[in-house]
Symmetry: C2
Subunit: 410 residues, 2 copies
């Protein structure tokens, strides 16, 4: 017989937090260090205190609820984030924080015995007002004084200024760094933010890996010609080259990738961009993701080869800038197995799957054994007020998180 959380209390917390930072129909505005974020933090601290859990805030302003903490034994940690994108939904991040809090409350209340202490964390700035995953990067020791001092948001406000306004010192962020031996394992409960579980009617995802990616700015350069006077066979049309590349994406993924490979052109800009001029230059934002580092490297080679051959054949010049590269991260196989076993015991169907989105877990995986549990996102919607997960799925996910934490701490 597995332990169970107090679901009505969790539901009430989720519904309450969903009102903090809301701008009516536009969704939630809890960007890091904004008034909405700050109100959510104050509310969470009150809830931690009210539950009789130990409250701890580290130098990166990550908020910890602790149970049985003695500073000697490593803790089993769960967590996610309170901040949202502008116009975000009520579950992305919030679910993991509140389910973590509920797990610790239930363990304390029901007096469930664990060998190790427990921590439920709300990480700072996961969504990236100042670059993304600030709190978990700080905890994992992956920030430098330089990166902290150069961090600024889209309006040019520095992280240092935003923290100072809240009476905080940016230099303290580095002190949030934890040693590997202070954490036994890390598990994050999160909504999928994709359509797979919903479409397949499966209530739980067990994340095996978080996809890595490369983002390129691809540029093809031909010649601007008059669209009326230039015969088709005398053109060097940069957009036609890009269209051909776009058409090759499925083949390249099939030949060089797998079912978890994704490639997307999200933006195209034509120059000069007049209806009666053959495009001289096109720029596009291209990104490709996979959970396997070797596959990702092979995909990069294949895309480059195809671009180069299209450019040669069409007499175009071809340039690309690497905008970013993030290596894939594997979840810990023992944690994955624990989650899967407990789900089977609870007679819940699961799907082993990748996470296509980035999460704090990918940093934590460098520090400790880490895993993730996904619940379905209705129609895959996220980063929008349309974000939704059925309450039954939330209850099942939160109960699985509870039993996973107990097992890992036992």
């Amino acid at each position: 017989m597995q332990a169970r959380i107090n679901f009505e209390r969790l539901r009430h917390d989720i519904e309450t937090l969903a009102t903090v930072g809301r701008q009516e129909d536009l969704g939630l505005y809890r960007m890091a260090f904004s008034d909405g974020d700050w109100a959510a933090r104050e509310w969470l601290k009150d809830r931690i205190n009210a539950a009789g859990l130990e409250l701890y805030v580290d130098g990166a302003v990550n908020i910890h609820a602790r149970l049985g903490w003695d500073g000697k034994r490593p803790g089993v940690m769960t967590g996610s984030h309170l901040d949202t994108v502008p116009g975000g939904g009520h579950l992305d991040g919030a679910l993991g924080v509140l389910a973590g809090l509920e797990c610790l409350r239930s363990i304390k209340e029901q007096n469930l015995r664990t060998r190790l202490p427990l921590e439920a964390v709300a990480f700072t700035d996961e969504e990236g007002r100042f670059g993304g995953m600030l709190g978990s990067l700080a905890m994992c020791g992956r920030l430098t004084p330089e990166s902290l001092h150069s961090a600024r948001d889209l309006d040019g406000i520095t992280l240092a200024a935003a923290m100072q306004e809240r009476g905080l010192d940016v230099a303290q962020v580095l002190r949030a760094n934890r040693t590997p031996d202070s954490i036994e394992a890390f598990v994050e409960l999160h909504i999928e933010q994709g359509p797979v579980l919903d479409r397949r009617g499966i209530g739980l995802g067990v994340v095996e890996a978080i996809t890595g990616l490369f983002k390129w700015n691809v540029i093809l350069i031909g010649r601007a010609d008059h669209a009326g006077t230039t015969p088709m066979d005398m053109r060097r049309d940069a957009l036609q080259g890009l269209a051909e590349f776009s058409g090759e994406i499925p083949r390249i993924l099939e030949e060089n990738g797998g079912a978890r490979s994704r490639a997307t052109i999200g933006r195209v800009t034509c120059f000069p961009g007049a209806s009666n001029v053959v495009p001289e230059r096109v720029e596009c934002a291209f990104e490709c993701r996979d959970t396997d580092e070797t596959t990702l490297a092979e995909l990069a080679r294949a895309f480059r080869r195809t671009l180069s051959s299209i450019a040669r054949r069409r007499d175009l010049m071809f340039e690309f800038e690497i905008v970013s590269e993030i290596a894939p991260v594997k979840c810990d196989s023992s944690v994955v197995q624990t989650i899967d076993e407990l789900a089977r015991e609870a007679k819940v169907d699961t799907l082993r799957m990748p996470s296509g989105a980035a999460h704090d877990t990918q940093n934590m995986a460098g520090l400790t054994r880490a895993g993730m549990i996904f619940v379905p996102s209705k129609e895959g919607r996220s980063h929008s007020p349309a974000e939704w997960t059925a309450w039954e799925d939330i209850e099942i996910g939160a109960n699985l998180l509870l039993n996973t934490l107990c097992r890992l701490a036992s």
Copy 2:
């Protein structure tokens, strides 16, 4: 033995006019009613007076040089325009006006006998500050008081205000209308503005038709999805639909069009346009041209069919707005034949070809028998300071214009 113009005088005129409205390396700025345009007009009027030709300015401010005009017999007319696009070249329009002036000067000077009077015209606003081909549309009676009063440039300045600033009354524009029986024929000498003659090493083009066109704003609508979390087979990617359409353009032209068909996507815009979001909506500026009205209609049907089938197969919505439709115009076969015969007599190779760009001739063809002579554009460059035609080609073209005018007026 054919008649010959005074080439050195024409070259001197072209070189002089090329300095009027020049902004150093940026090219010519003689947009209609601008200071550059006005300086060019004053200079031209002086040249007409100096040549002892009759000067006439109609209500649309078209400037006429006349020889033997008696208001009874129809005239043989040639002409083009003095205005330029911003940053234009020295030959687009100017060549036809100055060669026309030179032809009339030579006919007068050499006392070449013609049965009919002659007119060389500089048309107002061919390039479209206020919509395009204002002067020839007025001459052909294709303007209305409403269209004149609503005409404004990209800065919001109305045609009426621009004319008033020059002491002119927009209401007079309609009075430029000519009756068909006042014009015997019309011939325009122009640079090709395309690469065909230059690439094929042929010195003269005889225009058979001016292409018509349709311009569409094509919109494909799919669904915005997270580029990391959404598997390739669960996407409704609007940009992939557009790329497929772009790839089908050559096939559709081959199956439904001919060597004179052109189709171009000049601009693409993606929404939301973020690198990590599958494009929900793409809009593109699409245009298609052909010299044959039936072919153009068949191409429109074929493109619509393909768009619709791509949209259906990819589960996209598909809309299109017709931005403009212009019917193709045939040149008069007797004028085309006259030009060709005279070229053969002069032992000059010609190519019968379409005009892919719009010209005043397409309006004049509705009023009288009309034809066009093209000289090569180096590398097809036009609407740019790089616009160039070899002086030998200009001389051959101007001499052919002279003999064509004489033959048509004989």
